[in-house]
Symmetry: C2
Subunit: 403 residues, 2 copies
Amino acid sequence: MEHNREFEIDGNSNPIQISRLALDIGGSLIKLVYFSRNSGDDEDPPKDKVGVSNGVNGRLHFAKFETAKINDCLEFISANKLFLGGECDSGFQHQENCTNDRRFIKATGGGAYKFSELFKEKLDISLEKEDEMDCLVIGANFLLKAANQEAFTYLNGQKEFVQIDHNDLYPYLLVNIGSGVSMIKVDGDGKYERVSGTSVGGGTFWGLGKLLTKCQSFDELLELSHQGNNRAIDTLVGDIYGGMDYSKVGLSSTTIASSFGKAISDNKELEDYKPEDISRSLLRMISNNIGQISYLNALRFGLKRIFFGGFFIRGHSYTMDTIAVAVHFWSKGEAKAMFLRHEGFLGALGAFMSYESPSLDNLVVNQMVPLPVNASLVTDTNFDTLKGDLNGTESIRCSIYRA
Amino acid sequence: MEHNREFEIDGNSNPIQISRLALDIGGSLIKLVYFSRNSGDDEDPPKDKVGVSNGVNGRLHFAKFETAKINDCLEFISANKLFLGGECDSGFQHQENCTNDRRFIKATGGGAYKFSELFKEKLDISLEKEDEMDCLVIGANFLLKAANQEAFTYLNGQKEFVQIDHNDLYPYLLVNIGSGVSMIKVDGDGKYERVSGTSVGGGTFWGLGKLLTKCQSFDELLELSHQGNNRAIDTLVGDIYGGMDYSKVGLSSTTIASSFGKAISDNKELEDYKPEDISRSLLRMISNNIGQISYLNALRFGLKRIFFGGFFIRGHSYTMDTIAVAVHFWSKGEAKAMFLRHEGFLGALGAFMSYESPSLDNLVVNQMVPLPVNASLVTDTNFDTLKGDLNGTESIRCSIYRA
């Protein structure tokens, strides 16, 4: 294949070496994963017996942009020359690639198709399209096998990291909550089936939330939900049963009988409700629904573990709590919801892995190192989309070996 | 039990004899079922060998009120004396009951508990509470066994009545869509289990719809959805994939990827969207979600038939179409969605059946007769809640036999 070539970062003294970017362009967000080599050689993996370096150490970085603001993303890529091929730039270290006259980036998600022309026109970059589900599965498998402290459970406000036994990983259900939700039964590397999904996902939370509260961002809406109380707007079992449980069928008085049901009978307009309460109800409705449908699909295939990824979650405790409680409730404790630290970047990581060299197995992640992402970027850019981002401010220390 | 007594309507010439009412008081609606005897004796069932009448012919009537307007309902009951027991009223025919000093009505739903005191205070009527799930199952079984042209399928705009073989009725999944949704696996008369449910139901459609469109009634909101186009606000697969299908996983470009997803990226306020489109998106999101969760539960228990009831549906073609398509899609044609003509009155019918005499089996429904419900009521009331109601304007011709 045309883009089959060695990937290498040489020993040049340039302190920051950014190389290899992959994109996941979804309906709401563009996720970026890229690698930067460490500044010194001291941390590089040991050389082999004949003194040849087996690889380089560096960091994987994670960033995101709103899809609606794709021009910011294009500018970011252009300013930092985050692509392979094309004319050689003295500040950028792709000497082996200099002869290639095609500039390209691996990309997945629907936007890799939709915005293909835009990348070509504006940056003269080709998007090498990778299948979305392939990438999600590759990304999830990579994180679950290679990264320490990646998967965790969340119950009663307690986050607990889970050590995954590589020999006992499969099968599992991967639930990726982006704008919409995909549910994928994963049986091994490259072995999977998209068994279900729902259109009630992150785009629904954000879209409905924007209409109902006039919040201008997903994070603002999520933040609002912290202070909200869904009882102000949801009809609880107790509201129907005069404060009582409906114990015969196991419904306590505090169970939500009808999401947004109180809006029916209250003589209130939209403006009379607190945006905080609306956000909370919405978040609970959607998280609970995803948890329930996920569990029902896990049950279908006898899967005990469900890993939730995608940018909807954003490490938000109430979201995770609701999903975990839903899975616990419906499965009567049989199935377990687990979350991924790099939840939002599964697809982008998968696309990153799809560069043909080094192979997946050669990317070794040593440990997580919280590190401001901006620190590793050329500093004359002024993008603030990375701020306040749970994932965007983290990087993974890792080594890339020659294939 | 205190209320165990013969129920009888005598041969008095009073042209309209309304007797026996049962209520289902839900989170949004109060459903009423009551019986009226035919004016003449000519249609009564034949007398037995010693000349004793075995029963009377008449009609079952269906009506509803908003729970928020419960006072209208109380007035209606009072004006028409729709209760058993208490002082005898010359215009009302309960002579055998005149000695009883307690007035009561069979009632189910959470409101039977919540409004118990209100009925006592305002009308001096006791609500004889019947379990909600019991009543739903009794009502559904009754309709499926006794009524002609009750169950039907709905696909591609075609309604097709299904003749149910009584010996092949069980097991089935009963999905009752009220404010919230209950999913009940029915194995026989009185044999059932509430296996699942969701808080995303009719209350969610109406509640969110009211907040988003300022519609003042459920029916208005439903009516609006006719003219709407959900593509104006939902993100379709094609919107993400630049107009293409994502055919590898079987998603066509017109599949909804994210309900309300377009509201994210559009630079629009709530006011900029057409209420018709919002209503349509909401209806499709909720109907589709219920269809999916129902199917997953049917699959769990190997149930091929799913009957949908509850007042959410209201014989609305788009709602039924969406639910039916969801069940068809997710089950790959294996499971079948069926609807009930008297969908909204399952619980009220069940409560009606729970009067101890005559027994369930003795209520024989001959046929459906569309008949304005008001025609059989004392005419000095002026309630308009019954207008424009698909179910409320129908009655069932039936006979009641002595137990």
